[in-house]
Amino acid sequence: MQELTENDFFQGLVATLAIKGVRKISIRTDNFDPVLLAVFRRLEERAPAFDVEPDFDIIPDPIHGDSPTVRDILASAAADGLISFDNPEYQDIEIKIGAHSGEQLLSHDFAALRPLFDELAVVFLDVYEHSPLT
């Protein structure tokens, strides 16, 4: 069973979103963390079918509603050059890779997971578009 880290999860998702032409996303906690949680829940459901094991969890704090894992995922993605934070409040992210790079990133490590990430991107876009702050 393939080990899937939180950074792998987000890298695959960002690459797929890039292929779909998504460029800008709001990451306000009230908005973004629940969206990523919904995507993660789908990942957990579908992981056995793709023979992958996510070795992380996303559990938003019951009081504050945020997830440290989500925030670390975003920071790592920025360090990896996949996204950038928009100044001055850093409440939006921009996907820095194009569709071509997205394809490259998926094909290198996640070729077999392409349908899974397609599915996760659909969940992301659906939940994101219906979240209160978009």
Partner: protein, 885 residues
């Protein structure tokens, strides 16, 4: 709990371990009479001067569970870098108790909002909050995180308590404090001290507080004084770690404590998210936070954490030492009596630093008869001894997206390669594969360099334990702090508002500070640093497409001359036969005194070159010019031709805006009032759209479409960058007039001019100004103009002749031809041998050395602009040309 068998097993083992540790102490306590210990004790503390512990706390402190922390350094191996940072977890635990008292005092300043029993609970929780730490504190738990089983355990624990938990030490502390033995300890401490103020089920509450779960709905954020935005743990460790290591810290802790508040608020006035954590029947609750006027102190807290993280906890030498502890764990942790997860509790710091066979046998609980166990033990002991003697691993290779002055930073292939590399080094399985590959290559390199003696430094010949790949880690420091609430001091405004709403940018800037500094490293022994560098450079280039910029060498503690000499030896042994040119040894010419100056000259000439940014089928390549890019290009020609290749680049002529405007101006001045309209010769897709725009810099000229210009009376001027053979201009003129083409250029042309405009075109006074070009090209256009009966004047400002190098039949020309032929060979049936041979040195085989800021003409030498494969290796052009579509 039984849902997660591994977690349940871990709980049982921790409870058993706690029982074994505490039971003798508890037996002694049980013999003591009730209320026999009623005295407080005062402790001198290096940071907070005097700290007073009550009788119950003293009994807990005296227990082996807490005393064990005396032998565990708070900062693990930091003292190997900051010699005075030797303070223990016990000192920090006492300091945390002190800090929680100060926080409570701030909250209780006017009204006793936190009742005495809860004060006692928080104090004893603060004292015991770190009992889960194992040998060398975070160093061992970081080492455990390399085991997939640890990450799985953390996930199971998170699901169990419904809170993200990413620290094995806190899982262990949760179960130690929840153990029957610890419960007995608290009961005995209450009996002997006579202190029965603790709330009911104190150990359960302590467990919850340590993992940040709510303990009192009346004060819904009370647990956050133990584990939260400005908890006592942070207030002590930040001050203590900085003070003890001599690192300045910017956080004003006394001010922060002074600004801590507790307000009793109506439930209806709470922020929405807090209301969800308070029972509906509860009309009021106490909210803890920081005064609105103290928001800056929280910013300082984040800033202080960020600086400490960068300067202390993630110092490269600290990471090297931590890598050594992780390597020791890799060898023996799973051999331990309780498996890897219990290993941190079977050893103390001194056990690792003084590790020997007897120590390993004590750890594993049996004599080392198995050869594999013996081998692992020998390696672990060797690494431990190096740690003891401070012969630390050192950096051999460095990688990061943000590597300064990385000339390939904007290249998609390189950038994506770094993403793959970093991701692969974060996964335990793929990281191990990388280390296997590197170790194999290091053996090859040692053989080729005749340096196998380096292996004498280690037991056996397995060098894998001595190579450690440490990826960049971006654990954000600010997430917890931004959860704080700012409490209003006056009647106006909201009574409590989230800090993260008021200071939304704080996580952004603090994370950005760390993100741009954290670098991935490959660590190894001093003796293996050079071969490991050489192996890694080749491996990451071939497997991930990652280039190693020269600016990285200082970060990897490598020296260019030493690396260069080793590469030459390796090249002779065939090590680079299958490798891209850019990692092969640089030709000897590169080491001559004049080389940097020559490179700088070429770089300067190409300063304004932008080149196309295009998505080819395989990769998108940006064209930011740099000396390293130029050097890598020259390197592709090999040592025999490097000098001529560089000479060729020195002759490269950039024809840009300045040259074009100067040419047009010269012509217009010589023909006053004759030409007022400048028109693109060609279509919107052609470079004439750009050059015409440039010509618009001349005030007397108006840019018009051809149709518009033809309907006016003035002469029409076409401004062009370059004429090579003249074929393209001739083709365009023929196309406009609708006459059969005399050459096939495989280019799309628009419909001819309508007949009325065609007549006007033939009669109109026309001029073509070329910024540069060849005599033959001008003559070809003049001939065509005559044939087409055009009233056309031609002016070429600067003559650029076909390059002599490429008409001489020299060896360099032959090499360029071979390269060009290989680059042009593709699957297009029209591109037969004749077609290729006519273009191997650029269209017409004239080998022009011309480039425009926005593109490269086809007449320019092919190997300068065409990418592809040469002799089985990727060829990277210096000035790529936008492909025809």
């Amino acid at each position: 709990m039984a849902e997660y068998q591994e977690l349940d097993e871990f709980r049982k083992r921790i409870e058993r371990w706690t029982e074994d540790l505490l039971r003798p102490y508890l037996s002694g306590l049980s013999a003591r009479p009730e209320k026999s210990c009623r005295l407080s004790k005062e402790f001198n503390d290096a940071v907070w001067t005097t700290v007073v512990l009550g009788p119950l706390e003293v009994i807990v402190l005296d227990s082996p569970l807490l005393q064990r922390l005396r032998h565990i350094r708070q900062l693990g191996v930091v003292h190997l870098v900051y010699p005075s940072g030797t303070h223990s977890r016990l000192e920090h635990s006492i300091g945390t108790l002190h800090q929680i008292s100060r926080l409570i005092a701030g909250i209780n300043v006017e009204t006793k909002l936190i009742p005495p029993g809860w004060v006692s609970l928080l104090r004893v929780t603060a004292l015991a909050h770190d009992v889960g730490h194992g040998v060398m504190s975070h160093v061992s738990e970081n080492a455990l995180l390399n085991f997939h089983s640890t990450r799985r355990l953390l996930k199971q624990f998170s699901k169990t308590i419904q809170r993200e938990q990413r620290r094995p030490s806190e899982v262990a502390a949760f179960y130690m404090i929840g153990s029957p033995a610890f419960s007995d300890l608290i009961s005995e401490a209450q009996r002997i001290s006579g202190d029965h103020t603790l709330p009911a089920e104190p150990t359960k509450l302590m467990q919850l507080a340590i993992v940040g779960k709510q303990i009192n709905p009346e004060i819904p954020l009370l647990q956050e004084l133990i584990s939260g935005p400005f908890d006592a743990d942070k207030l002590d460790y930040m001050t203590r770690d900085a003070r003890m290591t001599g690192v300045p810290v910017v956080t004003d802790i006394p001010r922060l404590v002074q600004k801590v508040r507790g307000h009793r608020l109506p439930t209806a006035k709470l922020p929405k998210e807090l209301q969800t954590s308070v029972p509906s029947k509860q009309e009021t609750c106490v909210v803890t936070g920081v005064a609105l006027s103290g928001g800056r102190t929280l910013d300082e807290l984040v800033f202080g954490q960020t600086l400490l993280f960068d300067k202390l906890y993630r110092h490269q030498k600290v990471r090297a030492a931590e890598a050594m502890v992780a390597a020791v764990f890799d060898q023996i942790a799973e051999m331990g009596v309780g498996g890897a997860l219990l290993a941190p509790y079977s050893l103390l710091d001194a056990d690792i630093l003084d590790l020997d066979i007897a120590g390993v046998e004590r750890f594993v609980g049996h004599p080392l008869d198995d050869p594999e166990e013996q081998r692992r033990a020998q390696v672990a002991i060797d690494i431990a001894q190096r740690l003891h003697n401070r012969r630390l691993f050192r950096r051999a290779y460095a990688f990061a997206q943000s590597m300064p002055q990385d000339p390939y930073r904007a290249d998609d292939g390189h950038r994506n390669g770094l993403v793959h590399l970093t991701a692969s080094t974060r996964r335990s399985v793929t990281r191990a594969s990388i280390i296997d590959e590197l170790a194999n290559m290091v053996h090859v390199i040692l053989d080729a360099l005749g340096s196998r003696a380096a292996l004498n430094a280690i037991p056996g010949d397995d060098i894998r334990p001595y190579i450690w790949v440490d990826p960049p880690k971006t654990k954000t420091q600010s997430n917890e702090t931004v959860r704080a609430y700012l409490l209003g001091d006056g009647p106006d405004g909201p009574p409590a508002m989230p800090f993260r709403d008021e200071y939304a940018e704080t996580p952004g800037w603090s994370n950005a500070y760390l993100l741009t500094r954290d670098t991935g490293y490959v660590f190894t022994l001093e003796e293996l640093a050079l071969p490991v560098y050489l192996a890694t450079e080749k491996y990451v280039r071939m497997q991930f497409g990652v280039r190693s910029p020269g600016s990285m060498l200082p970060y990897a503690k490598q020296h260019a001359d030493v690396v260069g000499a080793a590469k030459r030896t390796l090249a002779e042994a065939g090590f680079y036969d299958d490798a891209p040119y850019d990692i092969r040894p640089v030709p000897i010419q590169f080491e001559m005194a004049d080389f940097p100056g020559r490179l700088a000259h070429v770089r300067s000439a190409l300063e304004h070159y932008e080149g196309p940014v295009y998505e080819a089928q395989e990769q998108k390549r940006s064209t930011i010019m740099s000396q390293q890019r130029i050097s890598s290009f020259v390197q592709q020609f090999g040592g025999d031709h490097a000098d001529e290749a560089l000479k060729m680049l020195e002759q490269l002529r950039v024809v840009g805006r300045d040259q074009l405007v100067e040419a047009v101006k010269s012509f217009v001045v010589a023909h006053p009032d004759e030409y007022r309209n400048v028109v693109p010769l060609g279509e919107a897709k052609d470079s004439s759209a750009v050059t015409t725009y440039y010509a618009g810099d001349i005030a007397d000229l108006r840019i018009r479409s051809l149709g518009d210009a033809l309907r006016r009376d003035d002469g029409i001027l076409f401004a062009e960058d370059f004429v090579g053979s003249g074929a393209q201009t001739v083709s365009l003129l023929e196309s406009l007039l609708g006459v059969p083409p005399t050459t096939t250029l495989d280019e799309e042309r628009e419909e001819p001019l309508p007949s009325d405009l065609r007549d006007l075109f033939i009669r109109r006074k026309l001029a073509i100004v070329y910024a540069a070009g060849s005599k033959a090209g001008v003559e070809a256009v003049e001939l065509a103009a005559s044939r087409l009966e055009l009233n056309l004047e031609i002016y070429r400002h600067e003559e650029i002749a076909p390059t002599a190098n490429f008409t001489s039949g020299s060896e360099f020309e032959k090499r360029c031809r071979v390269i060009g032929e290989q680059l042009l060979a593709d699957n297009d049936p029209a591109h037969d041998a004749t077609w290729i041979s006519e273009r191997a040195l650029g269209y017409g085989n004239d080998g022009f050395l011309v480039v425009f800021p926005y593109n490269t003409p086809t007449q320019t030498l092919t190997c300068l602009w065409k990418d592809g494969i040469v002799d089985g290796i990727e060829w990277v052009p210096l000035i790529p040309r936008r492909p025809k579509r």
